[in-house]
């Protein structure tokens, strides 16, 4: 998979590009908007990591040019700007995600992977978190090398949790995704479902657990000793 990174700070650019390469991405790093634009016009990138403030212009211009051309290349914005307005503006103009500086390189890689796995993108493959692997198209889950028998809703819940890895999934979001509008949902249906899923995961020796955050939602996280 080919990633373009546009960042004017040379050390940050080198470090990020190095980390992306180490994570298995073919990475091209550019310092100026002009270079990046030239590269993006000739090469089909799967994902572009875009810094907003650049010496020769605004990264937003490249984003707009891409979208005008009808390109659906995934774009992740890096911003030192903190106002929500500029983030919202970026997302409205066709960015797929954003990260605020200073960011974790690991988080950047995870976000890029999550973007590439999004339904509808060409890279919807097997989801993996720790030793859990899930193939959403076949609704098949493997934990620590062993196939586990999950119900349809359990797989659905696990998929949501894995897709939003590192983020909280609100209970209401699970409810909406797993139950139709006309279905009766008992008050504790989600609790029961998550409880079962959690038991099956830990029974199979998964190195990720579902953390229940009362009043907030659920989070797939590494268990702590």
């Amino acid at each position: 998979m080919r990633v373009l990174i546009l960042e004017d700070n040379s050390r940050l650019r080198a470090l990020t590009a190095g980390a992306l390469r180490a994570a298995g991405f073919a990475t091209d790093a550019f310092e100026t908007l002009a270079d990046a634009r030239a590269a993006a016009e000739t090469t089909a990138y799967d994902c572009i990591v875009l810094d907003l403030g650049l010496p020769d212009g605004d990264g937003m211009d490249l984003l707009e040019a891409l979208r005008r051309r009808g390109s659906s290349t995934l774009v992740l914005l890096l911003t030192a700007r903190d106002d929500k307005a500029s983030v919202v503006q970026g997302l409205n103009r066709g960015a797929d995600d954003y990260l605020r500086k200073p960011f974790d390189v690991d988080e950047l890689i995870a976000r890029i992977r999550a973007l590439l796995r999004r339904p509808g993108t060409a890279f919807q493959t097997v989801l993996a978190e720790g030793n859990i692997a899930l193939d959403p198209s076949e609704r098949r889950a493997v934990v620590d090398g062993t196939a586990i028998d999950f119900s349809r809703r359990e797989v659905g819940a696990l998929e949501m949790l894995m897709r939003s890895s590192g983020r909280v999934v609100q209970k209401s979001a699970l409810e909406e995704a797993l139950y139709g509008y006309d279905e009766e949902v008992s008050v504790n249906a989600i609790e029961v479902l998550v409880h079962r899923l959690r038991k099956k995961l830990s029974g199979a020796g998964a190195n990720r657990e579902i953390v229940t955050l009362r009043g907030i939602g659920y989070l797939l996280a590494e268990p702590r000793a």
């Binding site: 940050l12 903190d82 500086k101 590192g166 909280v168 955050l213 009362r214 907030i216 989070l219």
Partner: protein
């Protein structure tokens, strides 16, 4: 000047009282002099009339002078305590009132002479006229005098005091009362301005109303407003500088973070932790600058449950990653307040981050939304140090927190946000132990019955 009252109102009233008193005194003096002059003319006329009456009774028959003053005239003169004497050419007395043995004053004057006899033993002052009688072949002089405190004058003055003069007192009091009322009305806009100025709080709007002020006050208020504007501008520039600086710090922080991530040295992990603290400080500086720009959107309607839940969901991965837990306790009905979503989010985030810093391993951070309406954040840490609990000390910015990095900054962000929302931040310690921070919003009355 100790005599002068300290307020303008007092000074104006004092001045008006003085002016009233002077006006009354001048008026009274004028009336008195006018009255006196009139009286003198009247008195002189009386003297002349009496002398005329006496002259009618003086005859020269065969060169011999006779003066048989009519009894009625004599009686009238006696009634007024007057005295007269008639003198011939040599100054000898031809006729006189009873008891008069000598002339009153020099007599050889062809023109009428008014005279005045000062007070003597047992006698009062006298005022009189000495005149030569016309139309008589030999020179004859009549001298007539009355006591100065003439009865007519006395009685008229007495009547005047009785019937008219007392009116001065209520009149004077009425003028004073009207003056006081007028001054009070004229100064009313000033006290309104004072109230406005008193209500000015850091972080709130700082403009005095110019509408409806009289021109002279308006000049002062405009000047003050212009000064406020300059202060605000200076403040804004400073906040902007802080914000810019924080922005600029982000990129080098990102470089350091990326660099450290590639290192396997265990020291790198320690540095990463320190870097995290720095990151948080930069974040807080930005938050603080944003809150300090006075442009919080407090005009929208926000459900506190939603914002609190969002902020907690945002922080939850970090909290769980550090082996702590977080929960949100909220009622089933919306808790609505007027406020800015981002601002409330930022405030909750700061309180929860603060709680995270002080909650021990496996501890729980509890965020509760109550119908008060309020957001309560509790942690299981050691609690807030005493000087942070003191709101006045906190607001004055004198607190240098003993807790770990950035606590004072975080709390001041929350405090500012709450002030801008017309609410407040209350800190207390639970016996548990643990700190408890309450963001209390004004009740907008939109709360459905819980």
């Amino acid at each position: 000047m100790k005599i002068l009252p300290r307020d303008v109102f007092g000074r104006l009233v004092l001045g008006l009282v003085g002016v009233s008193l002077v006006a009354v005194a001048v008026g009274a003096f004028y009336l008195y002099t006018r009255f006196h002059n009139t009286h003198s003319l009247f008195f002189e006329g009386t003297l002349q009339a009496f002398i005329g009456d006496i002259a009618d009774d003086i005859h020269v028959v065969d060169g011999k002078l006779t003066a048989n003053v009519d009894a009625t005239t004599r009686q009238r003169i006696a009634d007024e305590s007057g005295r007269y004497v008639i003198l011939d050419e040599k100054g000898s007395i031809v006729a006189a009132s009873p008891g008069v043995t000598e002339r009153f004053t020099s007599f050889r004057t062809d023109r009428p002479l008014y005279f005045w006899i000062p007070r003597q033993a047992e006698e009062g002052e006298y005022y009189g006229l000495s005149a030569r009688i016309p139309d008589v072949p030999v020179p004859v002089y009549v001298q007539l005098m009355f006591p100065k405190g003439h009865i007519i004058f006395e009685s008229v003055l007495h009547e005047f005091m009785k019937d008219i003069a007392w009116i001065w007192l209520p009149f004077l009091l009425a003028i004073l009362a009207v003056n006081v009322i007028v001054v009070r009305i004229a100064l009313a806009p000033l006290s309104q301005t004072v109230e406005e100025a008193r209500a000015i709080q850091p972080g709130g709007p700082a403009t005095l109303t110019e509408k409806g002020l009289p021109d002279d006050l308006l000049a002062l208020v405009r000047t003050v407003n212009a000064a406020f504007e300059r202060l605000r501008e200076a403040h804004r520039l400073q906040e902007e500088f802080v914000a810019d600086m924080a922005h600029e710090l982000r990129t080098p922080l990102a470089v350091m973070k990326a660099e450290l991530a590639t290192m396997k040295d265990p020291h790198a992990r320690i540095l990463e932790h320190d870097l995290g603290a720095m990151e948080r400080l930069v974040e807080q500086l930005l938050d603080r600058a944003r809150v300090g720009r006075f442009n919080l959107e407090t005009g929208k309607i926000v459900d506190l449950r939603e914002v609190a839940r969002e902020a907690c969901a945002f922080l939850a991965p970090r909290i769980v990653g550090r082996g702590r837990m977080i929960e949100v306790i909220a009622p089933d009905v919306p808790v609505l307040v007027a406020g800015g979503r981002d601002d409330v989010f930022r405030a909750v985030r700061n309180l929860v981050e603060n709680a995270l810093e002080h909650t021990p391993d496996k501890g729980l951070i509890s965020v509760e939304i109550t119908g008060e309406p309020a957001i309560v954040v509790r942690d299981q840490g050691p609690g807030f140090p005493a000087q942070v609990l003191d709101r006045e000390a906190r607001r004055s910015g004198r607190v240098r927190s003993e807790r770990r990095e950035g606590v004072g900054l975080g709390l001041s962000i929350v405090e500012r946000t709450m002030m801008a929302h017309g609410g407040d931040l209350t800190l207390s310690n639970d016996p548990g132990p643990g700190g408890r921070a309450i963001m209390r919003f004004p009740d907008a009355g939109w709360l459905p019955a819980a």
